[in-house]
């Protein structure tokens, strides 16, 4: 054997040791928990043969509690670069089979190195979280490691897309890296995310709760809003990520490569989707399906705050963000959660140069003490802020109701909408006709012999005066009242016209959104 071949042989042997991670017993345990290993996950997610691993031979520098005698292959995290549908991606995956995926300083430094690389090369970063938490034997070094990750998450925010997968435990301080990223993916029975776990809660409060009920996938997808995508298996989760990556640009200076334009493929007729009676529900996603290319709509945060719908579609092959009130859930009101959801999505689109189409049909804000006390003022203000701040093309179509503060909030002309369209069924008013008639005609109604009959008459009078788009159109607040079947063509026209849109804001360090 030549000297060169011997060296190559040594390299292969060294790599093979690292690639075994925590060894067969630990891998068996990982499989028994229904989980793939870190390397299997990366390979399942990336294009075939695209992954190249970095920092395989990094060693931890723990010295106390006998750590100096322990060797952790790869220090419990796999990092590298690859591609999804040809788009360059930086990726890291914590390896639970190695010391429980615990994070020490060198483990963190591998992660921050690949994050720095992603930011420099301006490509998306994907992080797969599966870790028991801080490597306690390393003390403050582990905390330093987390801090350095959070700092980079923040600095990279709005420059490159950041995607987090929770494929195992992610507890305590560790949760803040995913929380700072743009999209968080969770998987049923596998994801566990919380600040304080069930044991601490039981000791302090005596409350007995399972990990799944406290911080399982479903809770974060439906109740807390911490997660954006919910899957029933790791494979489904990877498919969701690939779909998302197909819609978003590589960084904030690019547009997503445009696909071949396609006509909507749904058999629905846009003229029949929305009931004439403004009190009747329908699924606003059906309107979106009638508008977007191939009727292909990727909904974000589908389960949380379902009274608003946000997500991506394509218009003539170009990625477009959609924000739509959902009359089918809570009548499509704005509340704390739906405001947070919409505002964050709008800001993502604005950061990454994705035009926003708003479909409006909303009766106002959710009434209730719990909402007021939870700060619906502060949360609702985020929507106003996000729309006003955004400089990407902003187009609104009022489908039916646009009442009160909600009319202003949902990308009205007054917040800088570039195009305002309304269907003939649009009603733009300060509030619903019943509420308005009760106030304007209070005296007449009270003095009438038959109060109810008078109320009905006055409601009718109000509807005839205001429950239409023409008053707003007469002031120029609406550019054009359109037939439903013209919607797609006009939206395409508007998007084409605004392709080179430039809008400037006064120089500032940063604004102060009502977080």
């Amino acid at each position: 054997m030549t000297e060169l071949n011997k060296n190559i042989q040594t390299l292969r042997e060294k790599k093979a040791v690292v690639e075994k991670g925590g060894g067969e017993a630990a891998i068996e345990k990982q499989v028994a928990m229904g989980k793939l290993t870190a390397r299997e996950r990366i390979l399942a997610l990336l294009d075939a043969n695209s992954f190249h691993e970095y920092d395989m031979f990094v060693k931890h520098d723990g010295r106390d509690f006998g750590m100096d005698k322990k060797d952790f292959p790869g220090d419990g995290v796999v990092t590298g670069t690859g591609a999804i549908f040809g788009a360059p991606i930086c990726i890291y995956a914590q390896d639970f089979t190695v010391a429980g995926g615990s994070l020490g300083l060198q483990h963190a430094r591998k992660i921050t190195k690949i994050m720095d690389h992603a930011l420099k090369m301006k490509c998306p970063i994907i992080g797969i979280n599966d870790s028991g938490g801080a490597r306690i034997q390393e003390g403050v070094q582990a905390l330093a490691g987390y801090g350095e990750i959070f700092y980079r998450n923040t600095i990279a925010s709005g420059v490159i897309p950041q995607i987090s997968l929770i494929l195992g435990p992610c507890a305590g301080g560790a949760v803040y890296s995913p929380a700072l990223t743009d999209f968080v993916f969770v998987v049923e029975n596998i994801s566990k995310m919380f600040i304080t776990g069930p044991n601490v809660i039981k000791t302090v409060l005596g409350e007995d709760i399972s990990m799944e009920d406290l911080g399982g996938a479903r809770i974060h997808a439906e109740v807390t809003g911490n997660a954006h995508f919910y899957a029933r298996s790791e494979q489904e989760c990877f498919d969701q990520i690939k779909r998302l990556v197909s819609f978003i640009p590589w960084n904030n200076t690019e547009r997503r490569k445009s696909l071949q334009p396609q006509e909507p493929s749904t058999s629905l007729n846009i003229e029949n989707v929305v009931p004439q009676d403004p009190r009747q529900p329908y699924d606003v996603r059906d309107v979106i399906r009638c508008i977007v290319d191939a009727s292909d709509f990727l909904e974000v945060q589908e389960l949380w705050a379902a009274n608003i719908v946000v997500g991506f579609g394509r218009m003539n092959g170009q990625t477009t963000g959609f924000v739509a009130n959902q009359p089918m859930v809570l009548a499509g009101v704005l509340d704390c959660d739906s405001s947070d959801k919409a505002a964050r999505f709008i800001r993502f689109c604005d950061s990454f140069n994705i035009p926003i189409i708003t479909l409006e049909d909303m009766p106002g804000y959710l009434p209730g003490v719990d909402q007021e006390h939870a700060g619906v003022i502060r949360h609702g203000a985020k929507v106003l802020y996000a729309y006003s701040e955004a400089t990407v093309p902003k187009i609104t179509v009022i489908l039916r109701k646009a009442y009160g503060g909600g009319y202003i909030a949902m990308n009205s002309r007054h917040l800088g909408a570039d195009f305002m369209f309304a269907w003939p069924s649009a009603e733009i008013a300060v509030m619903g006709p019943e509420g308005a008639a009760n106030i304007i005609f209070r005296k007449e109604i009270m003095e009438a012999e038959d109060e109810d009959a008078m109320r009905q008459e006055k409601v009718k009078e109000y509807i005839e005066t205001f429950a239409n788009p023409f008053v707003a159109a007469s002031k120029g607040f609406i550019d054009s009242v359109i037939e439903p079947k013209e919607t797609r063509a006009l939206l395409l026209h508007a998007l084409e016209l605004s392709a080179l849109k430039e809008e400037f804001r006064p120089a500032k360090k940063h604004g102060l959104p009502p977080f």
């Binding site: 409060l205 005596g206 859930v329 009548a331 009766p363 006390h373 009442y403």
Partner: protein, 108 residues
């Protein structure tokens, strides 16, 4: 658990009734009730380690009523008003959550 399976109900927003589905989070929201005057609640989750007053005892505003151990700190619970202790809802050793009623004072 799916909101999608909830039935359509009447839901009122500014005097108008809409047919719509409620979310589980909305259905399970905390319902607000006005708390009685003189009711003392815990400001933190923790353990009652000492009760310094007894039922029927007159107390002055600012007087120490209990000690609640929370986050490894012993926190004094003080009388918000002067009056008479009419009810004590906890005993020493009880683990309680935040906003848990611990004691009722009938204000003077």
């Amino acid at each position: 658990m799916d909101t999608q399976n909830n039935p359509y109900v009447d839901f009122v927003v500014t005097a108008r009734k809409y047919k719509t589905r409620l979310t589980n989070k909305y259905i399970n929201r905390p319902v607000w009730n006005k708390r009685p005057d003189g009711e003392v609640v815990s400001a933190l989750p923790g353990t009652i380690v000492r009760i310094a007053v007894s039922k029927g005892q007159p107390v002055e505003e600012g007087e120490q009523l209990m000690i609640l151990e929370a986050m490894k700190m012993q926190n004094r619970i003080l009388a918000p008003v002067s009056g008479t202790v009419s009810e004590i809802y906890v005993k020493e050793g009880d683990k309680i959550s935040k906003n848990h009623p611990v004691l009722q004072i009938d204000p003077k």
